[in-house]
Amino acid sequence: MESDLKLSAQGLIRDYAGRRAVNDIDIRLAAGEVLGLLGPNGAGKTTTLRMLAGTLAPSAGRILLAGHDMARAPQQAKRHLGYLPERPPVYDELTVDEYLAFCARLHGVERAKRADAITRAKADCGLEAVGRRLIGHLSKGYQQRVGIAQAIVHRPDVLILDEPTAGLDPNQLRGIRELVGRLAEAHSVIVSSHILSEIQAVAHRVMILHRGRVVLDEALADAEARDDRVIDIGLRAGPDRSTLAALPGVETVEPLGDGRWRITAAPGRDIRGSLAETAVHNGWHLVELTTHAPDLETRFAELTRSAEHTTAVAS
């Protein structure tokens, strides 16, 4: 199992002048996996990614990239890494071809394979037509693509993309999203965003960061499957909370006000039918029964809000 991991980080901590920006984060990335790093602005996403990319040393913790320790053998580890920082690191005064040639040399692509590597990277990122144009004259979306091309020109095992869709218009956004999807076929990818739909569109697994901590880490399929268990029910002449909570298969009950309740069922049980029957039988005046299906967005909001609350209480 360990050997399948392209990247693993344990107990990452980063302090900035006494302020803890990243607190005890573990990240494991398997081959061919796309991990979405999600969090509000200032949650510690960029700090985490910079540590993984080796441009920032962690205050504590260990990073293994393709089996190489980032602290002890940074040169070997970085050979397997492609990194797109928050701002694409492009030189305005160079043409796309010149720039990619430099990046290929910098990442040790052999001379014989260089032209091929550049052609492939340009094809992957849709840059064929602009090879001879100055990067400074390209639009923001194209500059972003050049930044991604830079990260994949040496075909690294692990690709780290920090907010690849920031500041793009909807068309460019879709283009980059499709590109990340294609890249995932050959690389393990970590992509960060503060926009949930971006992550949902490309990632297999989502990790939500808040105030430097991981508040959620699970496969996207699981995150969405759980949603069926939450039921919103409206009862005009309803009973009190304890009566509802005592019903078979009910795990939690939460009042929504105005005779409406949010009920979470025990795992693996569909209680909608029995719930309706009970309501009718007891004359509770059933007016509404829907699966609530809180999407990831609600959970994201809840997680980041509740974590805020706990920290406020703790401090």
Binding site: G54, T55, K78, P89, L106, G108
Partner: protein
């Protein structure tokens, strides 16, 4: 090492596609050219200045190289400010830091790139006195010593500028700091000329001698006079290597 060469080539290419590099070359060529023409005119109007010890090489060559050092004082800060300060500001430094190149390779590559450019400037300056060989016999030894001195001064200025550039993320700040530091080195030389020996607690402190030993310009002056001593050359090498090493240390501190 390959990576350092790649970085040096990249640096050179970036310099030559920017108008700054060409403008700096043109301006310094214009200034040194005017000085060269003036000193030749002066010599032809007052031929009695050529004596038993000072020939054309010493008067024209020495004067030109001294002036070229002043021009460098202004050119080098403008070049070095782009290297780390500007790359940090634009975020492009992340590209180098996340690449397999070690910090030493990055610093050496940048240094070599800048020196490549400065060597071109150097060659253009060197051609002026050497062109006199068509008209008059020259003291090649004296000129060579002066030229080696000029090149070493370039390397020293460049290393100091790179270090100061690595301290900040504001290019203008880096340029001003480098200019200030280079001028300080100049003032240091003025102290050495004063034979200043203040007496502290009954002991005379040979500040003048100390300043002479430490001053970059003082060591350069010896070479300009045609005195080629390995101590002077060693001084420049140590100065340059020290500041390059400090730059590596400074960049490493950035990660922590």
């Amino acid at each position: 090492m390959n990576l350092a060469v790649s970085i040096a080539r990249h640096e050179l290419r970036r310099l030559f596609v920017s108008p700054l590099a060409w403008t700096l070359l043109a301006v310094s060529q214009l200034l040194t050219g005017i000085l060269f023409a003036l000193s030749l005119t002066d010599l032809s109007l007052n031929p009695q200045r050529i004596g038993a010890y000072d020939g054309v090489s010493a008067i024209v060559g020495g004067g030109l190289f001294r002036f070229a050092t002043v021009v460098l004082l202004l050119v080098v800060p403008l070049l070095t400010m782009r290297v780390f300060a500007e790359e940090r500001k634009t975020g492009n430094i992340e590209l180098l830091l996340s690449s397999p190149a070690s910090l030493t390779a990055v610093v050496l590559g940048k240094f070599a790139g800048l020196m490549g450019y400065l060597t071109l400037l150097f060659a253009l300056v060197a051609l002026m006195p050497l062109s006199l060989a068509f008209a008059t016999p020259l003291d090649i030894g004296l000129l060579a010593s002066g030229l080696i001195g000029l090149w070493l001064v370039m390397a020293a200025f460049c290393a100091l500028g790179l270090f100061l550039s690595s301290l900040t993320r504001e290019p203008t700040l880096a340029a001003v700091a480098t200019l200030g530091a280079l001028m300080l080195l100049w003032l240091f030389y003025a102290v050495s000329a004063m034979e200043w020996q203040p007496v502290v607690f009954g002991t005379a402190l040979p500040l003048g001698d100390a300043a002479r030993a430490l001053s970059l310009i003082g060591h350069h002056d010896a070479l300009l006079r045609g005195v080629f001593s390995s101590a002077d050359v060693l001084y420049f090498l140590i100065f340059t290597l020290c500041f390059l090493a400090l730059t590596v240390v400074r960049l490493d501190m950035d990660r922590h």
